[in-house]
Assembly symmetry: D2
């Protein structure tokens, strides 16, 4: 790369999972409007045709209205080709297919176990992690081989397990995990300011928060707007909406709008623990005792959120495939639309084009002194010239430490189980998961079934 009057030229981004129908287009849009970053995006996907399609779509972004940067897209047949010379690596893959995810999410229902998402924690999260870890191992080793100095941005779930695996496999990796769930809570606080206090136009990143915890189970221990302490306002807000939920000021972002909630889980957790849980209720519920919010679909609905069936995902994929074809053929024009994601801003900051403070998932180096060192945690961090340093979040409050530690311990065990191909260790984490509310023998039966259902992607465990 080269620093010029136009910013940085000659950048190379490797996109693993580059055949994506969705995230990829958002990234293309954000890159096209970055202004001061230019270069090439290498698209690698195990489905080469999909990557090829995105090559065509990506190249259409140059010169359209609002485009201020130039990027060339190129599908590659090997991961090595994509990674060689890369300055950044984006990892955004679907581990296996929605058939496996169907097993992850719906098999446990026979045992009275309901999951909203099933990709992070709970029985689904554990099984998904098991099949993902060997894939990430391969990717991390390839990065070590082809571009050890590249910055690696992961968007894939289970986030924590994946980032931890990357560091276990290649300790020198410069990887971090990127997630927009905290943004949603900042938006909720902005909506509160508007609806309750008449303060208009506050942007989500003007709400300054201290973030702590693990991905999808993050908490705010402080939230400020100018000199206003939002915790005080939030207490009144929760008092008002704890029973009814709050549904105004919804996020209109195309990525999120099918996954709404009315924040009643968040409000209930605030009442109990005194801190603001900062992820969608669908994610939060999965980290709590199964009987709290996910006893059954009706209970979830009563709390103002729904379970996302994998059938919806399958249907949605069909739509996205159709959209992909239209974008490729030109029937549908590509257009620039801000995604609200921080990925491109993070790249800019790492290139030294501006400082950025935002939340991120990286190994604990003391940013949360009372969680285990090296576990992957989510806190704010400072992105600057080729450096990423976590911001000290302080100790996790005692009230929520137990909940978070349980998640951390499970994640650490799953990573160990995955790296050592040890299904017994995986079961130890599985049967202690807050959502696994069935008996021990049923848990064993369920685990075996879920492994069986997804066996095609677990061959490493049966060698």
């Amino acid at each position: 790369m080269k620093y010029t009057a136009r910013g940085v030229e000659g950048l190379k981004i490797a996109y693993i999972g580059g055949g994506s129908r969705g995230w990829a287009w958002g990234l293309m849009s954000d890159l096209a409007s970055a202004g001061d970053m230019h270069g090439e995006v290498a698209l690698y996907d195990i489905d080469f045709e999909a990557a090829k399609n995105n090559e065509i779509i990506g190249n259409k972004f140059n010169g359209i209205e609002g485009a201020t940067s130039e990027w060339t897209y190129r599908a590659t047949e090997t991961i090595g080709e994509a990674l060689t010379g890369a300055d950044f690596v984006v990892v955004s893959i679907l581990p296996a297919t929605f058939d496996e995810m169907e097993s992850d999410v719906h098999t446990p229902e026979k045992y009275g176990i309901y999951q909203t998402v099933g990709d992070t924690t709970g029985p689904g999260g554990v099984i998904r992690a098991l099949r993902t870890i060997p894939m990430i191992e391969h990717i991390a080793k390839s990065i070590e081989k082809y571009c050890p100095n590249a910055w690696v941005i992961n968007y894939t779930n289970p986030m924590t397990v994946i980032v931890r695996t990357m560091y276990r496999v290649f300790p020198g990796i410069k990887a971090f995990g990127c997630c927009h769930e905290v943004f949603g809570t900042q938006k909720l606080l902005a909506a509160m300011l508007k609806e309750e206090y008449g303060i208009e136009g506050v942007k989500r990143d003007e709400i300054k928060v201290n973030v702590t915890g693990v991905n999808h189970f993050t908490w705010l221990t402080s939230a400020k707007y100018h000199d206003m302490d939002l915790f005080k306002l939030y207490r009144e807000f929760v008092d008002k909406y704890a029973e009814t939920g709050f549904t105004k000021g919804k996020d209109e972002n195309w990525m999120n709008n099918v996954f709404e909630c009315s924040h009643r889980v968040k409000f209930d957790l605030f009442n109990r623990y005194g801190y603001i849980a900062a992820a969608g209720d669908r994610h939060l519920a999965e980290f709590c005792e199964g009987k709290w919010y996910l006893e059954n679909p009706e209970a979830a609905r009563a709390m103002g959120f729904g379970l996302t069936p994998v059938s919806w995902r399958k249907e949605n994929l069909k739509e996205r495939l159709a959209k992909s074809e239209k974008l490729r053929s030109g029937e549908l024009p590509v257009e620039i639309k801000e995604t609200g994601e921080d990925g491109v801003k993070q790249m800019r900051a790492l290139l030294g084009l501006s400082d950025l403070v935002t939340n991120v998932n990286i190994p604990n180096k003391g940013q949360i002194p009372n969680l285990p060192m090296d576990a992957v945690v989510e806190t704010n961090a400072v992105f600057r010239d080729d450096s990423l340093n976590p911001v000290s979040a302080g100790d996790v409050p005692a009230e929520i430490r137990a909940l978070i530690m349980r998640a951390v311990s499970a994640q650490e065990m799953v990573v160990e189980a995955g790296l050592t191909r040890n299904l017994e260790l995986a079961f130890a984490a599985f049967c202690n998961d807050p959502l696994v509310t069935c008996s021990l023998s049923d848990a064993r039966e369920l685990f075996n079934q879920m492994v069986e259902n997804t066996k095609a992607y677990l061959t490493e465990y049966f060698k």
Copy 2:
């Protein structure tokens, strides 16, 4: 006190709960046969008559067969009188009556929650802690006032919560908690050596173990007999008895024999985690997910242990009251019978009459570096001249850390809730307890009922 040719003379022991029918007589027996310790035992009890009874019984021990020490017993009307000048304080009380315990143990059954003991953790443990903490506060403050340099031995449950409360109230206290559950596991290992390997006559304290965890949920990370690594033998042993349980070599100690188990919980935990859980199965089961071993009384029985109904305790109390009367009147002669407890040995060691290494409950000063500092933990410790130092147990293994941390966090919250009279905080611990497998609204209902049932002993919370 004074060091003489006979050992130490002029000692004063204050016994809080000195009207006890059971523990007190065991202590009397151990003291009578100590040989080199002599002095006075002051018996204080809110039931003065009971203490008076024990004064009479205690004084009968002097000069009987096997008695090698001289002790005078004296009931006192005030706690101050008992504590003034004390070298040791024994705390062994029943917080409230068996009616309250009946609520602790059996009210949750309406919600499908079964408890084996209900005095340590689970819904019963939490409510019992709430009423005990103010009592302990009073005792600790009295110790600070009347005998700040005395060594304080607690036998009362919930052990961890009580010892922690003592240190929170009077940080300079020299208190520790004493429990025989680990001994039972040492005996199990000795029985294994006898039954499986033909090695006879091994005493429980010849099995050298590294103890870690919290009271009633303690674990061994190492067990040796001479140069034999007992973990290797235990693995074979568990393979053999995991399904059937092991019922030979039972402990005949009068204190324990109604509380038997066949160790299947212990064996199951070993199979899952690779470490030896070191308490009776009845206690261990209460620290695990409710659906594992306590789904219902049949499930418990199938695992080889029973639930102890409070009706049994009430019946048993009647027998002990009758025995008390007989001992007092002389109808039944007092006799010396070793209890197997370490209490008197610990006193001897603290007096400098011999070194002792045994397990004990004290605040964490680094003996378990990856559990929170100051939380009360159970490890080995060295008792010597007026000093008690924990033995480094090392980090708790990752596999079981999550389970233990959950207990530690709950205990810390309950202590905080008790000291600040904060029932909402207590509920936060309550509803996250592994045994509270009902819905959140049922948990709330149950909590309220249990508080209501025991209200007479919770007046401090409603001021």
Copy 3:
């Protein structure tokens, strides 16, 4: 205060030591050109006339060329008047007079001990700390009383000892210490880029550094410019200039230019330890063994730096007094001239007007995991809406930890000695100081003399 279209209006800044001739004028200039901050500065000084003078001078800044903010200056007769209602408190005092400083710096010379500055560490730093701590105690208690929510910026030396004292006295204080020494090293790196690599126009804050250590003995463990790793370049640079020193690219800032150095100490430390010491050589030398760089004035000169005699300070004060009179009378016009200090930028960020990442002195909350918790350390921190969070600097490298730990331990002892008025404890720190190279009996004699010389300001220790 109030957020308006003009930014924030109605701010109140309390300036303790507001009679200053120097720093005060710089702050006035920075405030006048802040643009979006407006309000009042209350000037408190034990020399009321000096404060009154600055009131007149400060009020002249409104409306002059370059002034974009409006500020009213007002001298107050009591500290309470100044602090009441303050949003920010600036602490910039001279503890005692230059006569006491003369003793601090020059008395040790009789024992062969030479100091460059004598206000931070060394025998002078210890004695200065002893007389300053009671003053800071008074200030911190006043802040607790009059404006507990204000942000407190300390500029006074000994920086670490003062900030630590503030937190010891009032744990809820929102204080931080602000120092420009790291900036000088950033400028050195910018000068290196210009002189050696022809890269022009790099501003000091475009050099992104990871800062660690304690004030005046700070180290960089990483330094980047865009994608350039400056450590590699610095190694070549040191190879080239280790013997001769580097004197180009000097800082022309009016505050610094009499205190020059040729960076040979910095280069020598880099050769030995592999990390970039980031303060002026005059400060660095005082934290090292006395025989390394301060054996005598000639040795210092040979290393390219001079000792600052207090006679120079006395002379300089006369000039500043004269300048003060001219500014007051209008003989000399006030003018806006950027100071390069971060103080006003920090205030802007704390008001939420922009994020800021810069180095700062605050208690260790895990930002340097292998230095003692709560000790005051210097690292980067994020300033945002009413919040200040340290950036994780990671572990101090083993190579320099011993040097830094020695300083930390001494500072902790001096604070303890000061707060408990314990001169014996102060001597324990004193005689173990790296600069105290004389015998133990000489050290005692010297300590006594220095205490005697400054007794008028140590009355608290002799009550």
Copy 4:
């Protein structure tokens, strides 16, 4: 080995440095009178003839008066032969010869640097460590190869550096370092009880102490005899003898009596820091600033201790060689005489024949939470059946932490320097040593000379 009625039979001890004239004979005596341990001692030495001599001498111990155990001695030509099948390994070597030690101790005198011992710290200690580390590397690797499960007892200096090296090279090693210096302080306290309080017959191990720090710079933070707090008595004792020293109750042990001191260093440190330094003054002085106690030989003498010249060691060696010949030939009969060392007691305890609590040097696993993990520290530890667990010593008091941390940091650097053959890193430790009071350029000159003088044993560094 085999457990029989006689205790343990068939033991094998490998003695590295088995040609020793002194320690070896003490060990032979202690083994002969152990009573319940029997087996073989394999003597390995680079001087095979010396080992052969000791084979002859050792075998004479069987059956003499007081002998209660049977041991066969056998010199081996290779280290592998000695180690194969060993249950215990004793490491007691002289790294190089007294010629090298002469350089270690006396070369620095030209620069005004005086050392009392020169084998642990100071310039001599650093250089000695450099030549010892590769030897220990070889030994540790051999242990890993031939007897990975053996217990390894090191007696060689520099103790800390050697034990740390063993664990760095073979992390699974079961090694500990054994030193009698703390015993001397226990004896001093016993002498105090006798001389000042008329309490006769107290044995050194009846004084129960809490030991903390590093070898030869150990401290007691508590000392008790029965219910007596010896710190209170010691304060009076120090008041009485601080000026004159205390010379009664001298240790008559043959190993120590040429190395006397009057404890004035110990008393002076107590007055300054409030804790009891627990090693001979000759060792303590070397860990303090050079100007405190070692400014010159007269200053040392004035403090009541002398410098041990290497010429004395050379002379003494001649005597020991003569004695060796006499023992071998039978001119002098072997005899049993208790050494007061703990080595054989430790072996007994590790075999499960009795519990033992004594001080020992092992890696920090939390026994001193505020010193770096894994650094080798000296605290009490519990020796039992095949296990060794440190006793929690608690945090090192703040007052002495700086002194100890300086030593720890230097030792860590020296080990790293030795293992990586990095003389520059060694110099960084060297020039920051408290005893290196000369200028930086003189330090460099001295370092180079000392390396040059001992080059024959530093060949690994010049490959």
